[in-house]
Symmetry: C2
Subunit: 499 residues, 2 copies
């Protein structure tokens, strides 16, 4: 593991004898694929956040629900931690294995069970790829809206675990807004059905609770998602600005004008140059920032919105607003954006992608803070992000081979997330907390809230065996990190009493 992480602070994780666990599981679930040799475990040592690595004790690749349930019941009985993994594309280390735990890989649950065009739903297994759902729905003119950049590869189960987002979340919501029903196995092998195909479900909203819970409450075994009709048309505007703050303000102005773009993305000069160099999308390399604003819907409506958005961006100081001439140019404009991460990657041996969310009106101010921090730490930062929903993705460029640069990048990243919280935002927009941002959770929440999280966790998993050390920090960790109570240290409403 490259990045320093003190596991002691996550409480006493159990450590069982590998041979005993292996023998037990082989006996209990004889037909299940179980990997245990180092060379077989190696491919699973990290997820998309490759700076964090650990070899799991064992990797289980079950084929059916009964195998999963039996595996869980045995791990519960043996006291072995279980980390669940989908496609392993996550960017916060949520599926990072534990050396003393079983990695439960759900990739064989890859069946689309039903597409119902009338109800506009798809019922799928968790290992189904995000894009495969839209492909299966395409013959009916429907699609699944949340579109993480990794949608070719990432699994819908992982999307639920991390409450994944994407370019279109501004208009169509995060994963939690597009999932209607899940089936779940608890660590004790109980099967829960949460949500329904109807509008609402009674009782506590455990369906929402599961979304973004990072495999800490149970193992999702089936998912029913909402499908949407494909918009009749989509058009994209590219606006150039010679000032980053102006571009940030234009974002708020577009929304304030009552326009809801299908996507509203921002790139700063460093990102523009990197992408242009890589993709030749026709981006203005001299611009301080560009906005890509996509309007989708019915033709007339989209044309009217394009005009309105153009006027707003010009009034906000855009030096040029270009509309993609045709579908090919629209695809090219997006190709630049979608390849911005690897493009920036070509500029530097390593980069570290952050993910924080802020209220839109804070964009100019937080962008300025990031620029100042970049200077202070002596590391370049490229900004490419979902501006419309205030979801920032600063990419910190560094060279892990240079002494101390990784640590500086980590520290800078932490500072950026704390700036997001200070601006009234949050330390994640769509990548989740995982292992990566566990310390920043101490900045986001005070001890009462963290205690409540732990109590809710215990309601599902009293032995704390599901994905321990991720998502929710222990109070000991926060005390060590020195950040306990910071959030309420500066109360948003000083007239209210502190309890």
């Amino acid at each position: 593991m490259n990045i320093h992480y003190d596991a002691r602070l996550d409480g006493d994780l159990p450590r069982q004898d590998k041979a005993t666990v292996l023998a037990d599981l082989k006996r209990s679930v004889p037909d299940m694929t179980l990997l245990h040799r180092e060379e077989d475990l190696r491919p699973f040592e990290c997820d998309g956040l490759s700076a964090y690595r650990a070899l799991p004790m064992l990797v289980a690749l079950p084929d059916d629900l009964e195998q999963v349930a039996t595996l869980l019941i045995r791990c519960h009985a043996l006291g072995v931690p279980v980390v669940t993994r989908g496609a392993g594309t996550g960017l916060s280390g949520g599926a990072l294995p534990l050396e003393q735990g079983v990695l439960l890989v759900m990739s064989r649950f890859d069946r689309i069970l039903e597409v119902d065009p009338d109800a506009r739903t798809a019922r799928v297994q968790p290992g189904v790829r995000n894009l495969a759902i839209s492909e299966a729905a395409a013959p009916y003119g429907l699609y699944y809206a949340p579109d993480p950049s990794s949608q070719i590869a990432c699994s819908i189960g992982g999307n639920v675990a991390e409450n994944a987002g994407g370019v279109h979340c501004l208009k169509y919501g995060l994963t939690v807004h597009n999932v209607m029903r899940v089936e779940l196995l608890t660590l004790e092998g109980e099967r829960l059905v949460l949500g329904s195909e109807a509008l609402d479900a009674p009782g506590f909203d455990l369906l929402a609770l599961i979304n973004g819970s990072e495999g800490m409450l149970g193992i999702v075994t089936e998912i029913t998602v909402r499908l949407l009709p494909k918009p009749e048309t989509a058009k994209v505007l590219m606006a150039s600005f010679d000032d980053v703050a102006q571009a940030g303000r234009a974002v708020g102005d577009i929304i304030a004008a009552g326009i809801v773009p299908g996507g509203l993305e921002m790139m700063d000069n460093l990102a523009i140059r990197a992408a242009e160099d890589f993709i030749h999308a026709g981006y203005p390399v001299e611009a301080a920032a560009i906005l890509l604003c996509e309007l989708d819907g019915v033709e007339d409506d989209v044309d009217a919105d394009c005009e309105a958005a153009r006027r707003v961006m010009e009034a906000a100081g855009a030096i040029e607003v270009r509309q993609a001439r045709d579908e090919a140019e629209r695809a090219l404009f997006w190709a630049g954006r979608k390849n911005a991460f690897p493009a920036v990657g070509r500029m530097s041996p390593d980069y570290y992608c952050m993910d924080g969310t802020i209220p839109r009106r804070a964009l100019p101010q937080v962008l300025e803070t990031i620029a100042e921090l970049s200077e202070t730490y002596g590391l370049r930062v490229a900004n490419v992000f979902h501006a419309g929903d205030g979801n920032m993705h600063p990419l910190i460029l560094f060279d892990a081979n240079r002494e101390g640069e990784l640590e500086r990048a980590e520290a800078l990243g932490g500072q950026i997330l704390e700036a997001c919280v200070a601006a009234g935002g949050s330390i994640t927009g769509e990548h989740g907390v995982g292992r990566e941002k566990i310390n920043q959770m101490c900045v986001q929440f005070q001890s009462d809230e963290l205690t409540t999280f732990h109590s809710v966790k215990a309601a599902f998993d009293p032995k704390r065996l599901l994905n321990p050390g991720k998502n929710i920090p222990t109070l000991a960790r926060c005390a060590e990190f020195g950040a306990l109570h910071v959030h309420h240290g500066k109360l948003p409403h000083p007239d209210l009493p502190r309890f």
Copy 2:
């Protein structure tokens, strides 16, 4: 209390001596209004579901957060149950007092703290009326979308507790989709801040968990809601059908055609006649059913949608489709719908309003089942409901003065809700479970899910003092009701193993 309810099945609720509790609270929270004489308690004996009545031990009307916190801490220490009440307009008995408990009335928390037109949010106290938020936002061209029929009177805190809906939820979502942040006091007086003004918040989604939790997890003390821009225009179509099932099918057809109405309501002949007699809205009294279909948005778009919706309804068998000529006629069409409950009330000494949700495609079938049940039980049922989101409101007409009719109405209501569950739906759409539907929860969920609900409840309120006996039934109650496991008794996917 008129309706039979066996409190023993909710477990052993504590019963403290009234004089002791009163003396303690007077001493601990000396400035708080505390009602204890029978004539002062009487106005609080029921909420909008007036068939259920109980006098609370005490009524507390705090003025500020510190009084609420101290009250809660004392009730926790004394072991006194606490039921929280907003405006008392709820229709499922969620705010029904407990004879051995304190009724915490939040009506004095009625300040709108901030309207932020740029962020499009309003920060309010829980006692603020639903409509008052839209009134405060109106100068900025904004409004708060969820619109329960009681929106003139109901409080936003109660809306959060019951996850309230309304006519416009099809397009704009339930309360949970429009609340961004809440502040909460636990029974131990801890203050939790859940959600944020940003797109997403890390950790478990406790914000969604609070919505619809019926005062069982904590006391909401501040709410930040999302505001939406008022649509440029709204137009309404009224389609008449001579067959209820055809109208039901037309609902699914409209949605399948890619049209998202602002509201899509259905009334059957009994409801049409009652409303017409009362309001003179110009409804076709011979029709078996009407649909009211409102399209809102930009003028051109709305016109195109009106044409498309008209074609779909005609193809589905509508005998007439009329568009409201002007704003006055549009208001009149809606006045008939909005007054349908009291209008039906004029036809019968008593009526009982049910609230179940089903997948849209099941509408024709469930409407037929309701007609059959109505005949079997010898009680008339009027149907007036949010057809677009499958949220049914059968109104059962009865006369409580006739021997056995109340019990028959209750039994018929229960059968209707069970038919909703059997059709893949749920026992509530927007009214909540409260006391009224606690037995039907045993039909909706199996014991594993109920146990998980209780564990989550215990994470917030281990002593089970917050609104006990509502929302989540004990397993003892379900065993008595004889319905444990019914839901999974008929597995939706028989190929999957039972655990």
